[in-house]
């Protein structure tokens, strides 16, 4: 089985993705992650204004199989939260890179992006 790993994103080895545009970024979890978790039934995310620290957990994803922490790939301040996930957690399964996005943040340090995995490296990790 092969998983979708879009080429315009960067990845964390714990299966989160970042879509960076200048000094802002979107964060979510990968196609591989949603498949491993199975049907997601609950998503807990921080509020707008929360501070994320790279490598530390910022939220929780609960599926039929497991309750898992979600880790921040980069540091920053939360500027938007995907409220649809509250009532439609299945968006994480259906469209992990689109409607299933989790947070939008202002990056604290853009150079942290360089520490993340390239699509090719992430593909190697999950295959």
């Amino acid at each position: 089985m092969s998983f979708d790993v879009p080429d315009d994103l960067r990845y964390l080895d714990t299966h989160e993705w970042v879509r960076a545009t200048d000094a802002t970024a979107e964060i979510g979890i990968s196609d591989f992650a949603q498949d491993e978790l199975g049907d997601v039934v609950f998503v807990e995310l921080p509020d707008e204004g929360a501070e994320l620290t790279a490598g530390e957990d910022f939220g929780v994803v609960e599926s039929i199989k497991a309750v898992s922490d979600v880790y921040a790939p980069v540091s920053g301040t939360v500027t938007a939260v995907n409220d649809r996930l509250r009532d439609e957690p299945e968006l994480l399964n259906e469209d992990p890179y689109g409607d299933g996005w989790m947070l939008e943040i202002d990056l604290t340090d853009e150079s942290e992006l360089d520490d993340l995995l390239s699509p090719a490296d992430y593909r190697d990790q999950i295959e």
């Binding site: 039934v41 609950f42 609960e62 039929i64 199989k65 957690p89 299945e90």
Partner: protein
């Protein structure tokens, strides 16, 4: 239409027997509440059954259920097992009902029983002192790790880590975290046991303890236990024994002799004290001599022929009210006293024999061995959860599924010492029938139990809560 068992309906073809709350309700009007209007309601719908309806309601619920008294139940001691009922009779005796605040001098029999149980458990585990206070296995773990923490603090040492193998019970990780430790997860080696090289690399000045289950959750005996004990002790850490699988060793090997410093006993797994729907329980903790002064308060001792409560000199304090859940302790005492040394040895022999016989009979692969009182089969290409649901159709309860995670599509099976060869053959027949079936059949199962396939996703995303159900009625 065949009426065999009242069932919840999940499609139009089922005969639908209404629930009691749907056929016998009375709405009560509420007037003049003393509370503010926004905190009260005007009416409340309550069940209003006659005695026969109520009796039938509970009988019907029990018929819908599959319990340890319905048939084979290979979840094992870890979750649910059949326990002999004579212990209930003993605990229910009127003279076992003792108020916990009575003066020591008036409850000498009670204290004598506690003292003897401390002694029995100590001898069974190879421990020098035992507390009966913790109210469950997990509470026993927490107590044991708090004792380890107190020991290190008394030595003016600050150790921040507890090492736990990846095959361990989830409670171990929770216990260490709750006691304020960092958890260091130890990967298992290829044969499913502790990797001693990885352990040597993991332990050091920061190691407070290694928490270990032996035999482990795959039923495998940790053959390198002496080397493991040396590695942990040389680093200055303590060795903690999770008593979950003690029923495999009863009367044959003792954690204390293996080098363990602290252990808890799951009396519901090993000494016939049923969970009783989640409690009350008991999780006694044993320690080697140097740690006895840290035991919870109170502890029971004998002095000049009299028994008394006292506070150990460096006690970690109380972990539960009084001296634990007394009736549960009476049951454990009764079981040990009735079986005696020979009986306990026989129990561990049968636990191991039953698991090995069953594993030999079934068609599923069992990747790790030799195992003791439990084994982990792999459903292979099948989904373990689907296979388990299908087993219900063959009139047996399925094993634990998808855990431990080091076996793909795990079927964690523990028949326990109490099952007969007939029951084991019935179980094996169910395993093999399911092993031969296709995915489509498994995905549609179960079709026979009162509750058909549960939509777990909808149940979690849109739970139907009982107070809402009453409001709807």
């Amino acid at each position: 239409m065949k009426y065999d068992q009242a069932r919840w309906t999940d499609d139009g073809d089922d005969r639908y027997e209404p629930l009691l709350s749907e056929k016998a309700n009375e709405t009560v009007e509420i007037e003049d509440a003393a509370l503010p209007d926004d905190l009260t309601r005007d009416s409340l719908t309550l069940p209003d059954p006659a005695e026969p309806e109520l009796a039938r309601h509970y009988t019907r619920l029990s018929q819908m259920n599959y319990g340890v008294e319905s048939g084979p139940f290979p979840l094992g001691s870890c979750t649910m097992k059949y326990n002999p009922s004579f212990t209930e009779d003993v605990a229910a005796r009127p003279d076992a009902a003792i108020h916990p605040d009575r003066p020591d001098a008036t409850v000498q029999g009670t204290l004598a029983l506690c003292h003897r149980l401390q002694d029995y458990l100590g001898r069974i585990g190879g421990m020098d002192a035992v507390t009966l206070q913790p109210p469950a296995g997990a509470a026993g773990e927490f107590t044991g790790i708090e004792i380890a923490k107190a020991y290190h603090e008394a030595n003016d040492e600050e150790r921040r880590e507890v090492v736990i193998p990846d095959s361990a019970h989830g409670t171990n990780f929770a216990t260490a975290a709750m006691a304020g430790y960092e958890v260091v997860e130890l990967p298992s080696d290829d044969d499913g046991r502790v990797d001693t090289e990885a352990l040597a690399a993991a332990v050091g000045d920061d190691t407070a303890a290694l928490m270990l289950t032996n035999p482990n959750t795959l039923g495998l005996f940790e053959r390198d236990i002496e080397e493991i004990a040396d590695l942990v002790h040389d680093a200055g850490g303590l060795l903690y024994y999770d008593g979950a699988n003690l029923n495999a060793l009863l009367g044959r090997a003792r954690p204390g002799d293996m080098g363990f410093d602290v252990m808890h006993y799951n009396v519901h797994k090993t000494f016939a004290t049923p969970h009783g729907g989640g409690g009350p329980g008991a999780g006694p903790v044993g320690v080697r001599e140097g740690l006895a002064r840290f035991l919870p308060n109170p502890h029971v001792r004998e002095r000049d022929g009299n028994y008394e409560y006292y506070e150990p000199e460096a006690s970690i304090g109380k972990v539960h009210g009084f001296y634990g859940n007394w009736p549960v302790l009476v049951k454990a005492f009764a079981y040990i006293a009735r079986l005696g040394d020979a009986g306990l040895r026989d129990a561990s022999a049968k636990a191991v024999l039953n698991a090995n016989y069953l594993a030999e009979q079934i068609d599923y692969d069992v990747p790790f061995g030799p195992f003791h009182h439990e084994f982990v089969a792999s459903a292979g290409e099948q989904d373990a959860a689907d296979a388990a649901k299908r087993m219900l159709d063959y009139g047996v309860h399925p094993p634990t599924t998808k855990w431990p995670e080091i076996v793909d599509e795990a079927l964690m099976t523990e028949p326990t010492e109490g099952e007969t060869k007939r029951s084991l053959d019935q179980l094996a027949a169910a395993f093999d029938a399911v092993a031969a079936e296709d995915d489509e059949t498994l995905a549609a199962a179960p079709s026979r139990p009162a509750a058909r396939r549960i939509d777990q996703v909808s149940a979690a995303r849109n739970p139907r809560l009982s107070w809402q159900a009453l409001d709807d009625a």
